[in-house]
Symmetry: C2
């Protein structure tokens, strides 16, 4: 589904360790113009979100996160397919048109790059527990933002996605 | 000296916190094409290093680091000046031609962007404790890489810097 999961190679020595997390040539068609860091507490959940424009490149530095993905691009070979990924490390590239969310199973830190500065207009959301999207997060009463808590259903997200100008 | 120190704004909520660490428009003349993460143990020290080509953009995610900087660019208003910075957060942009090193005073994690992929040819080094560079790190017998431990003096670094093709 155009999603790329990359293992990171940590090189350890007496000083600690070091890993490359991103190289331009790994994804030569994408330029990451913004980077954020997010520390997440146990049982927090972000999503389900969808962007038409920007690619997310998420790097798990610590903790444990369960990512849910669903491809909503009608012209994609994996249209409609879902995936769940349980990560304690590595990096995940999520292209526009792939709905996604993540549940923090063990407190930790993510850094993530965006191909365009974050823009509310490019950030659709739906309820994390709507059975219609088919993503089953291992969460009970997770900690959500007000926006994610009040988000509508998956059907509504789909409608808005289809109506967005391309 | 062309060095930019940026405070980061962390936005906290029940889920944890989030901060922008880099935006392309903050430094529109620089494109960061590689990002690394490094976990550093107490009393580790990296440096003193100098690049002719690439800019470093260092972000302190946790721990405490003392950075030493010395401007070696003859055409710079701050040529020859030194600075020491004691950071527990924030981001630091170090342009080419500014020699730098950092001492980890409390174990922590850095992520850093580079404007060009790392290249041994673009990475000069000298002894961290050579009195000639004027950077006094608060370290006793720090943990060094073999390369940093075996590095030559500051005079030698200066000579090599001046002889590098521009």
């Amino acid at each position: 589904m155009g999603v790329v999961l990359r293992e990171l190679q940590y090189h350890a020595d007496d000083r600690g360790n070091l890993s490359e997390i991103y190289r331009q040539e790994w994804h030569s068609d994408i330029r990451l113009s913004q980077w954020n860091v997010s520390h997440c507490v146990n049982n927090s959940l972000r999503g389900v979100h969808l962007h038409l424009k920007h690619t997310d490149y998420l790097v798990v530095l610590s903790g444990r996160f369960v990512f849910g993905l669903r491809d909503l691009r009608r012209d994609s070979e994996s249209f409609g397919r879902t995936a769940m990924l349980d990560l304690t490390g590595g990096a995940l590239l999520i292209p526009p048109g792939v709905a996604h969310g993540f549940h923090c199973v063990a407190e930790g830190t993510l850094v993530y790059g965006l191909s365009h500065s974050w823009d509310l207009e490019d950030d659709l959301a739906c309820r994390w527990d709507d059975p219609d999207h088919g993503l089953v997060f291992p969460a009970t009463d997770p900690i959500l933002s007000a926006r994610d808590r009040d988000a509508g259903g998956f059907d509504d997200l789909l409608t808005r996605f289809e109506e967005m100008p391309r």
